[in-house]
Amino acid sequence: FPGAGGGNDIQWCFSQVKGAVDDDVAEADIISTVEFNHSGELLATGDKGGRVVIFQQEQENKTQSHSRGEYNVYSTFQSHEPEFDYLKSLEIEEKINKIRWLPQKNAAQFLLSTNDKTIKLWKISERDKRPEGYNLKEEDGRYRDPTTVTTLRVPVFRPMDLMVEASPRRIFANAHTYHINSISINSDYETYLSADDLRINLWHLEITDRSFNIVDIKPANMEELTEVITAAEFHPNSCNTFVYSSSKGTIRLCDMRASALCDRHSKLFEEPEDPSNRSFFSEIISSISDVKFSHSGRYMMTRDYLSVKIWDLNMENRPVETYQVHEYLRSKLCSLYENDCIFDKFECCWNGSDRQVLIVMTGSYNNFFRMFDRNTKRDITLEASRENNKPRTVLKPRKVCASGKRKKDEISVDSLDFNKKILHTAWHPKENIIAVATTNNLYIFQDKMN
């Protein structure tokens, strides 16, 4: 799309929706992570039941120029099972917290999936032929009586229906006392980090029995605990650099060349707060739920409860841009605290790697999601709903009425459904295709192709 202006120039249309229609949602079906692979051909989801479902984009049909390929189920497997640690009396959920894809090196695809305690490297491979014509085995696998074999033949490969197999190739276990919130693959494609509430570990993808602790913020006396790690990510280009965010709204950038244990940050990003503005909720809503580097690595984006902030890595004392996601919730914080919604962890993402266009996307309540165009400074609110599911019909922007007289087509803050949260969204790395997860459904939207 040459010379496209920005978020509002993209006309988003419904493409597909996956998942059950019924309102009665089983806990296991709650989607907990969504991630495109590096080419965008594959889209993975993880859920609370420990399952991974991978969708594959159809090859583009040259005659059907009005839409890009649809995503169909490619593979599904049980990644993690519920466990109980008897020594610690700890119930370990099977919920998939994060999935991260490795870049493709050969015919197979690899991804890392993690629950609260254990990270697994999964190999997803295709099998489209099988050997036939064994001498000692029947086609169904039963062994033949050797005395009945009178001639020898050479087994050959014959085509078969495509089978996609997922197998766990590495299990990275027992390295986290606290709950893993992030995994991030390094730009060297050999190492990755895993972060829990208090520690960050560095792993080599080939080695499962050893990991290096690179950040440890556990205080000697737990009574002195004031903040926890909420997210971490490697820099997209510098393999020695990573950042981690905290529950107090700070981001620390660390350089692994400086020392083995990166407890002392190289940079500390924090927006100063006017102490007179402080309230009971200040710290809770400043807690960063997600941090994502831009593709260039020059910027990073953080998500806290009410806003998205863009930081320039060269400027630590304040963000360069702040976008309000749902400022109208500031006057609802009391009830959002009571129903625990104030602790919801929203993620955020950048648009694909087109350098001309700079858009960020994040979710909100009532199955709304928001996009902010950094070039035009315009924003848009859209809704993921089955009512809007006419392909090639442009989604209608939504508006929330904060106070005063509600206009037609606006929705008032008090009518918002806080059980309908969009916490996870993903943007195709190259095209204008987005995946938006509601509680138990996955929506795919595409821009309208002319």
Binding site: T45, R51, N277, S279, S331, C334
Partner: protein, 99 residues
């Protein structure tokens, strides 16, 4: 700038006042140690033999519940006894996204 900040702070302070009116014993530091400790202890499920035996005694007089108990409730009636535990976790069924 100042007046705009006052407008954005006032709703937050008003909400705080509402919360404190409902829960007068609420601590001063919500981001402090207690709150974070609770977060770190997610998943902790200690076995209470007193509750377990109480529940077993009650079960003798009641019909066994058909489904597994609510995981969040860990006292009294809701302590799972071996008979209550579901045979298979529902997650071993294929995801509906793949359906």
């Amino acid at each position: 700038q100042d007046s705009q900040e006052k407008e954005t702070v006032a709703p937050e302070r008003a909400e705080e006042a509402k919360l404190k009116a409902k829960y007068p014993n609420l601590g001063q530091k919500p981001g402090g140690s207690d709150f974070l400790m609770k977060r770190l202890q997610k998943g902790q499920k200690y076995f209470d033999s007193g509750d377990y035996n109480m529940a077993k005694a009650k079960m003798k007089n009641k019909q066994l519940p058909s489904a597994g108990p609510d995981k969040n409730l860990v006292t009294g009636d809701h302590i799972p006894t071996p008979q209550d535990l579901p045979q298979r976790k529902s997650s071993l069924v294929t995801s509906k996204l793949a359906g």
